[in-house]
Structures are given as structure tokens and as C-alpha cells.
């Protein structure tokens, strides 16, 4: 229930309809059990587009397009704080989806996605979760003690996300990459650039960077600082068998992304 009375938000009982089921067979979103067997693309990462430094009133900004996902990140800071002295910068992350986007509701804790999207001011549980995950991934990379009495704020906007084809973990993968890029763009001193890898596996085959719905046993997202091979974030759902192989594959993917980021940054 919205409590914002300051804007004209439209009728509260308006309901956003679902899309009916198409009778055309070819655009169905069915789970594809043959995805693993066919090994369509077991080793490649989907193409992505990235851009940095296009917002002049933020200290750093980045934009990533990948499959159905579009993420924008702005870094504000280091900015001075008004309250009492702190030895090192405080770092905060806020992730927001544009209001019409359906968030991953596998847990069904974020309420009804059929209701009027206008006027939501707080963050949903999913947004909070992503914010705190990304924060814990990036904190080890930033030299916070270089910036006493300051805050560094990272604002993530999820512009497009198709929760039916792309899992939340895949989205978080690209959010993490975009956030690292924005941090580099802001010039805040970092130890290493955090990149991530996301895989799913059925126990035998592994698919890197899955963006189509396939049945899976393990879904594993791992974020790395590649310089010393440190794991700064791990998020595993499903089966825990062969976790070390999964981490290894995520590492490969994160290195590939890192290579791409390096060449992008060198060429700009």
C-alpha cells in the first residue's frame, strides 16, 4: 500500500494484467531440458556492451547491457560528512529497480507485482539483499582509509531485467561488474577491480553466464579480486556437490570479463 500523498499516483486498485499464454509454439519460455545435452554454448559468455563516464554530475558512472539486462551505476564521492570524525570512508550501496520491473519473486516476499507501481519510496527485500551483497563484495577492494571524514555512495539502477529468463544471480553478476567499472571511473583508489562469474550446472555439464531458463541443480555466483585470486563474494543456490569446480569455472569467467574491462579501460 502506497502512503505517498504528495503526488498523483493513480488509482490504487488498478491491476497490471499478466500476459496470456501464447499459442505460437516458437516463442514459448519453456524450460529447456535439452540445454545441457546440446551444450549449445557451454564455454562462451554472452556479449555485453559497456560505457563509462557519461554522467557529469556523478563522480563516476557506468552502463552495461547484457542480454535482457541493463544496469546503470553512479558513484558519488568521496563526499564530506557532516557528523563526527571517522577514520575511514563509509561506503554504502543502494540498488533500485525501475518501478515497473518485475523483481525476482521466487521467495514471494516483495508483494504483488500486479499492483500500481507508482510511489514506492523504500527498497524491496530483493533490492536490500542485492545492495548488501554488492557492498560486501566491493568493500575489500576499496582503500577506505585513504578517505577519512567521507562517504562514498554507489547508486545502482536496474533499467531492464527480465526475471523470467534471467536469474537474480546473473543480474547480480552484471551489477557487480558495472559497480566496479563505475568505481574505477570515479577515481576512488582500489586494490583490484572486482569481477564476477556466474554458472549453472546439472552435476555434469556447466553453463557459463546462463541467460535462458534451464533446469539446474547448482547456481553459483562468485566475485573475485583476480590479482590474488581472492573470493570477495559467493552466492550459491541448489546443490553443493562439486562446488570447487563451480568456483573454478566462475573464476574463468571473471577473468575473461576482467580482460575485457582492462582492454576497455586502456582504450578509453
Amino acid at each position: 500500500m502506497n502512503t505517498d500523498r504528495r503526488r498523483i499516483l493513480g488509482p490504487q486498485d488498478a491491476r497490471i494484467p499478466d500476459l496470456g499464454i501464447s499459442t505460437n509454439a516458437n516463442n514459448s519460455m519453456d524450460i529447456d531440458p535439452a540445454g545441457f545435452a546440446a551444450e549449445k554454448r557451454s564455454s562462451d559468455i554472452q556479449k555485453m556492451f559497456m560505457k563509462t563516464n557519461f554522467i557529469s554530475n556523478a563522480n563516476g558512472s557506468s552502463y552495461i547491457e547484457h542480454g535482457d539486462t541493463i544496469v546503470q551505476v553512479s558513484v558519488f564521492g568521496p563526499r564530506p560528512i557532516k557528523s563526527s570524525f571517522i577514520e575511514q570512508a563509509s561506503f554504502s550501496v543502494e540498488c533500485r529497480f525501475l518501478p515497473h520491473l518485475k523483481q525476482d519473486d521466487a521467495l514471494d516476499i516483495d508483494g504483488d507485482h500486479h499492483s500500481n507501481p507508482n510511489g514506492r519510496t523504500g527498497l524491496s527485500y530483493t533490492e536490500h539483499k542485492i545492495s548488501s551483497f554488492v557492498e560486501s563484495c566491493l568493500v575489500p577492494s576499496i582503500l577506505l582509509d585513504k578517505y577519512p571524514k567521507s562517504t562514498i555512495d554507489l547508486h545502482i539502477t536496474v533499467i531492464e531485467h527480465n526475471s523470467e529468463s534471467t536469474s537474480l544471480t546473473n543480474l547480480v553478476n552484471w551489477i557487480t561488474v558495472a559497480s566496479s567499472l563505475a568505481l574505477v571511473d570515479s577515481g576512488v583508489e582500489v586494490r583490484d577491480i572486482v569481477t564476477a562469474g556466474h554458472i549453472i550446472s546439472d552435476g555434469q555439464h556447466v553453463i557459463l553466464d546462463p541467460i535462458e531458463p534451464v533446469s539446474k541443480r547448482t547456481d553459483c555466483l562468485v566475485c573475485f579480486m583476480n590479482l590474488k585470486n581472492e573470493i570477495v563474494g559467493i552466492w550459491v543456490d541448489g546443490d553443493l556437490d562439486n562446488l570447487d569446480t563451480a568456483i573454478e569455472e566462475c573464476n574463468k569467467m571473471s577473468r575473461t570479463i576482467r580482460g575485457n574491462i582492462n582492454s576497455y579501460l586502456l582504450s578509453t
Binding site: E87, Q88, F91, A106, L107, D108, I109, G122, L123, Y125, T126, H128, K129, S131, S132, F133, E135, S136, V139, P140, L144, D145, F224, M225, K228, N229, E230, I231, V232, G233, I234, W235, V236, D237, G238, D239, L240, L243, D244, I247, E248
Partner: protein, 286 residues
């Protein structure tokens, strides 16, 4: 209590020893002592109150409702309330997200099925009265105790209502009520979260507030069905203190966390079960 730099260094040095020397002389795989009471809320289907030696206290109540299965996407709802934190704070929201995800992934939902149309829906309400260290473990253990002792009324109407629509009716004798374990016909053990602190090459179960301040990282691992499960995630446990020490993990940390959970969590579950047995029939809290 925040530690001074010297205290922090002293604690850090003793914890990176092999084996680590913990301030309260605990072993790495030991949780802090706790005391608990179950089934003390008369209007709940299951309840538990859990207290730790550092003053942390958590109350969990499980209530049930009969719903139409087709209209309810979700038969479990967890709500978390922590004293001193706003409900829309990141701290509370992340706790709620993690607990919901734990229970959704590891729960015998068939135990809630009543008829072909109707099911029970469980509402799990957690209140943390006070906490010093990260409260995930204590909430999760309280949920374990509450779910384990939850009793649901016995259905007396027909189970098969595919053709005839019928409102389910229940036995009015509370003695007939069944626990979730009896409903599934197996030894039901709800899932729990174990919080592990990472420091040097060591892993510490259930870190205390002082330990959290010097930790290099934190892990949360689920335990269900006799072994480590997902969700498995890393997490920054020290929310209010400096993040000086926060570092990345090695993959060996994760592998050994899983094997430690596999090895020792059975004992924790066994201890909780014993607690329930001892508590049976008492019903007095204070």
C-alpha cells in the same frame, strides 16, 4: 562494545593462532551456551524463546492458517523484527531475505498439504529482543525449535475433495494435533543457518561481538537433511564497526566451511533436540 586498537590487535593475534584461542575458550566448532523454552505461547501453533549468554534473546511464534493452495504462491511467510532497527532497514531486510530463502529451499512442503484443494500456510514471526552479535544464528535456531514443536490440528474431513467442494473441518481435541514430523512420517528437522567467521586460515562457528570486530570475512551456510546445503553466502558480520580487516576469501575456506558444517552441525541439531525433550511438559517461561 567497541574494542580499542590495542585490544583488537591482541584479539586478532590470538584468533589467527593455530588452533585459534577464542576469548571464551570455545573450540572453533562450538556455539555459545544457550537456554530455551518451547511451546509457551498459548495462541500459537509453535513457539520458542531462546537466550544466549551475551544477553541476546529471540522469540519465535509459528501460526497457521488454512488457505486454498492454488491461490497461495507461498506457504511459508517469515517476518523479522529486531529491536532498535527499522523494519525497512537493510539489516532487517537482509535477515528476512536470508531466512525466507533458507526455509523456501529446504522445507517439506507436502507436510502442509491438507486436501487436494487446501493447505496450511505457516506464518513465522521472529522478534529479536536484544542482540549483540549478528543475530542470524540465534533466530534460525529459535525457528528450528518453534517449527519442531509446532502442532497443527488434525483434519477430520475428507482428504480427497477434487470433485466435491468441501470446507475442511478439524478435530477439536488438541491432543490429536500432529507435529510436522508426524505429518511427514519422518524425523523432521527444520533447516538452520550457521554463521562462520573467517580469520587467517581458521573458521569460527557463531562468532561473538568481540570476535566479529576483527574478522576478515563471514560465511553463512545452511544445514538441512544431515548435510550442508544452500543458500551459502558470504556476509559482512561486523556492521557497526570499522571494516579495517575485511578481506577476500580463499576457495579452501569455503570447502573447509562445508566440511566443518557437515561434521559438527549434526551435534548442534542433536543438542537442540535434547533441549526440546527436556523442556517437554513444563511450559513455564519465567
Amino acid at each position: 562494545m567497541l574494542l580499542s586498537p590495542a585490544e583488537r590487535q591482541y584479539l586478532y593475534d590470538s584468533l589467527v593462532q593455530n588452533p585459534p584461542i577464542r576469548p571464551d575458550a570455545r573450540n572453533v566448532f562450538q556455539c555459545r551456551p544457550l537456554e530455551a523454552t518451547t511451546t509457551f505461547l498459548p495462541s500459537s501453533n509453535g513457539s520458542a524463546r531462546l537466550r544466549m549468554t551475551d544477553g541476546a534473546e529471540c522469540i519465535v511464534s509459528v501460526k497457521s492458517k488454512v488457505v486454498k493452495t492454488a491461490d497461495t504462491p507461498n506457504l511459508l511467510e517469515v517476518d523479522v523484527d529486531v529491536q532498535g532497527y527499522r523494519d525497512d532497514s537493510n539489516f532487517v531486510a537482509t535477515l528476512k531475505y536470508n531466512l525466507s530463502s533458507l526455509l523456501h529451499k529446504n522445507f517439506p512442503f507436502e507436510a502442509l498439504k491438507l486436501t487436494s484443494r487446501y493447505s496450511y500456510k505457516l506464518f513465522i514471526d521472529c522478534i529479536v529482543m536484544s542482540n549483540t552479535s549478528y543475530p542470524l544464528t540465534i533466530i534460525s535456531m529459535a525457528i528450528y525449535l518453534a517449527l519442531k514443536t509446532t502442532k497443527l490440528p488434525k483434519l477430520v474431513s475428507e482428504v480427497d475433495d477434487v470433485n466435491v467442494e468441501e470446507q475442511p473441518t478439524f478435530s477439536d481435541d488438541w491432543e490429536d494435533a500432529k507435529t510436522l514430523g508426524e505429518a511427514t512420517g519422518s524425523d523432521f528437522q527444520p533447516p538452520v543457518f550457521i554463521t562462520l567467521g573467517v580469520i587467517g586460515s581458521s573458521l569460527l562457528f557463531d562468532p561473538s561481538l568481540e570476535e566479529e570486530q576483527v574478522l576478515e570475512n563471514g560465511l553463512i551456510v545452511s544445514f538441512y537433511d544431515g548435510k550442508a546445503q544452500t543458500p551459502l553466502q558470504n556476509i559482512n558480520l561486523a556492521l557497526n564497526s570499522n571494516k579495517n580487516n575485511y578481506k577476500g576469501l580463499k576457495s579452501t575456506h569455503i570447502v573447509s566451511a562445508i566440511s566443518m558444517v557437515n561434521k559438527y552441525c549434526g551435534m548442534i541439531i542433536h543438542a537442540l533436540d535434547t533441549l526440546i525433550d527436556q523442556d517437554e511438559g513444563d511450559g513455564q517461561v519465567f
